[in-house]
Assembly symmetry: C2
């Protein structure tokens, strides 16, 4: 329709305002998506699944249509010419980024990729326990083929490398050259560090807690730990799911964890990890909620929050002192709950097969291994059938463990590859490095930080994170966020120093 | 767009198929709406409310747009000329009904009405406990004004009376003349029956259960009762909320109840009531899910299911025998759990102020009173300020209780009026009458029905309801559904006979 009055009315309204209204609508639809997705993982009975999948597909289609309306190209261009505040300009930058990602891939490819990952992920649930690598390979080749097509198109649009273009979806601005530089350095010192820590800890006996640990007591303990860490229960909840996650929306954060009654640390540390994600979401800039600029900066920055909580604080000797009385209360007195023992327990290093069970020191080895496999995989330098041999060699080299023939605890262990989440893995270790950098910065400005944590004062940590990370949302690109927060871009030296101080100091 | 090829393509596709696809999309959006609405009542933390309200408004707007697309008028007309199966034709009838309701009211009026009810309902939450009738009146006048406007427009469109047109939204096909006839008869015999039952029960001592009744034990008991009544937990859940309800979708039914630890019957009977609603939803015609013809027939038929479970079965002497061992297991042995005592407890008649706490015998008096007030209110024969005097007079006449000055337990007790749900109340008692009619029909074809229930065999009841009510969805208008199920349209004589047999027999 080109009625002159309508055209005139349209140019009267700033294009930016129209875009802001569109993104507000998308925010409402994302709310529905987030809550029903949480429900699917945490509450939904099994026979609800087909109807739920259809409802989620409907809202995804609606959102895709809104994000790919042809007039947006022109609206974005016009808005860039309008007078805008700094925050609005940052918001517009994030709008363009979301628009580019939504419009880069033809719908037919997106649908083929979704079908391939749905099939592969569904079969993987049974193939993993059955150690069925060959069965997995049949589906995974198709996942890989569509992921390579996506990488090629994203690369052509952005000028980035193919793997880099996939990684950029999760970690905007991060480049392979930098990951190579950082991981290349870590790979030099990590195997030696792991060996030294394991040797040192062999002389430090640790007493194991004795179960059972009733699930209701674990639930109550988890909520106490979340309160200790400042989670706002008037704007969020803790529930249970097979795989812990942080979901919901900034106004209503839904965390999940899982419990086993013979062990409580897995559930508790999972809860603390997700609480870091949750507090970031709860403290994003509220005045901008609903706009892209209010979102969490990147997945590495998100993981830097969960790891600040789980590793930097959870593994702190002062934190064991805070936790000990809660454990007494939850499970009764045990010698293992003595703070020094508890701290040793929470910082035990033991190279193993499984990434999600890995300690803070050996974790980066798992990530580097995946990066060194998935990048050449996407770039066509290796094929899916080459994975097991590479996996075995790198596990032996980096962690000294033998994984031959054990696919279920090897390349079949993660959901990322069946779900085509190529480019995500680096965020975990980049996040651990950012977390160490944040704590190094805090210690510079608060020399008594460790003493305060040991006295049970966690507020200085949370205040710093809120002022420097949470409240910024996506106001600045990641490099600038890091620079403003800590005086430098990502510097992995802080992570190495942290591990050496904590584990060899 | 009127490109000739597009126009040709459009007439090639049956209009019915396009409508079916549209209603399938609406079903997906209703799924999102239902699950997040359940979440809001059962799980959402308080600070999530504003974002939730905005997200729900967004999806309501989307659905309204889909239902009011101008081309639907033509599509419906064309579909009515197409060759269709009986089920498709019934589906088309229900589509037209939904389309008429969605298009009858201008959006500005719908928005004004929503604002007025939101304001009134919000203030009512505090005004009710404060017994603040005058404060309520200030907001309620606006609610009434917009409801009268809606009634007038719906009446003009449908040719029904004004109150009738509002009632028709909940109970399609029900007319005021019939309600007048039915309630007019009930109001003749009910006060006398209540007095006789109360006199009779005064000579039948009943032993009260002794609390506390721990909530976890009540929860487990409720789930056992739901299993006993055939609820499918693979396609539904039980949770808690301030006001019990049955929500979710047919594929995933979400029931809620509430608990007090000094009393267990309220929570248990609430659960059994909602289980009746839930089984209806779980057993709607699955082949047609997503289409209007698959929906529950009407609110009176829905209430006939919840009351078949809560009253017809729950108040059956055989049911007390089934329940007794579950109560022993949940709370330990008590003399009050002896089946005969339990049955007396569950059928105790005591006229009181509160509708939702009323027994089966005095309940219709509450409904008749509301009908006799809200109908002239909508039709402009009385004004909002006339309500208390009418309320007091009718409570004295029908139930022999004195409500003067007690607004909080009087006209302020229900959420229906602040929410402008005028025309809903009759469905409760029409549902109780339908439930009695279903059981009378079952007894004709299964003379040993009561003996079987007493032996713990509930399957014949559920099988009959599934075959005659649940699986029919909206295949037939209500009168025809009743005729096919029981050989006659609604006949309130069965309800009177049921009350006399149970309470005076």
């Amino acid at each position: 329709m080109t009625h002159p009055a309508a055209a005139a009315a349209r140019t009267d309204t700033p294009a930016y305002d129209g875009l802001a209204a569109l993104f507000q609508r998308l925010h409402h639809l994302e709310h529905l998506q987030a809550i029903v997705s949480w429900d699917r993982a945490a509450k939904m009975p099994p026979r609800g699944n087909d109807a739920r999948a259809a409802a989620l597909a409907e809202v995804a289609t609606l959102m895709h249509r809104l994000r790919t309306e042809p007039r947006l190209r022109d609206d974005l261009a016009r808005a860039e010419q309008e007078p805008l505040s700094d925050f609005q300009r940052a918001n517009l930058r994030e709008m363009r980024r979301e628009w580019l990602l939504s419009n880069a891939l033809p719908e037919s490819l997106v649908q083929r990729a979704q079908l391939a990952t749905a099939r592969c992920e569904h079969a993987w649930r049974h193939q993993r326990p059955a150690n069925d690598w060959n069965g997995f390979l049949g589906n995974f080749r198709e996942v890989l083929a569509t992921a390579r097509e996506e990488a090629t198109l994203l690369s052509e649009q952005s000028g980035l490398g193919r793997y880099e273009a996939l990684m950029d979806r999760f970690e905007p601005g991060m480049r392979c050259a930098e990951v190579d530089r950082i991981f290349g350095a870590v790979r030099q010192w990590l195997p030696g560090l792991i060996r030294r820590v394991v040797d040192k800890q062999a002389h430090e006996p640790v007493q194991r807690p004795v179960g059972p640990f009733p699930v209701p007591a674990q639930r109550a303990l988890g909520e106490q730990a979340m309160r200790l860490m400042g989670f706002d229960f008037s704007a969020g909840r803790l529930d249970e799911s097979t795989h812990p996650f942080s979901g919901g929306v900034p106004e209503d954060v839904r965390l999940t964890t899982r419990y086993r009654d013979d062990e409580f640390l897995m559930g508790l540390l999972g809860t603390i990890h997700e609480t870091g994600h949750g507090r970031y979401e709860q403290n994003l800039p509220r005045a901008w909620l609903g706009q892209p600029v209010s979102r969490a900066r990147s997945m590495a920055i998100h993981e830097s929050q969960s790891l600040a909580f789980e590793m930097q604080l959870g593994g702190h000797p002062g934190f064991a002192r805070l936790l000990a009385p809660l454990l007494h209360q939850a499970f009764g007195a045990q010698p293992a709950f003595e703070p020094d023992n508890l701290h040793r327990l929470m910082t035990r290093v033991k190279p193993g097969f499984i990434r999600v069970d890995a300690d803070e020191v050996s974790y980066p080895a798992h990530v580097i291994l995946r990066y060194e496999i998935e990048r050449p995989l996407i770039e066509g330098e290796i094929e899916a059938e080459d994975i097991p041999a590479l996996w075995d060699a790198k596990m032996a080299e980096l962690l000294g463990v033998d994984t031959r023939g054990n696919y279920q605890d090897g390349p079949l262990q993660d959901v990322h590859w069946p779900e085509a989440m190529f480019g995500y893995f680096p965020c975990y270790s980049l996040g651990a490095m950012f977390a160490a950098q944040w704590f190094a910065t805090m210690r510079r400005s608060m020399p008594d930080l460790d003493a305060r944590i040991t006295r049970g004062e966690l507020a200085p940590v949370f205040d710093w994170l809120r002022d420097n990370i949470w409240s910024a949302g996506s106001r600045w690109p990641t490099d600038e966020l890091a620079l403003r927060a800590s005086g430098e871009a990502l510097n992995p030296a802080h992570f190495k120093a942290h591990l050496e101080a904590r584990y060899l100091g």
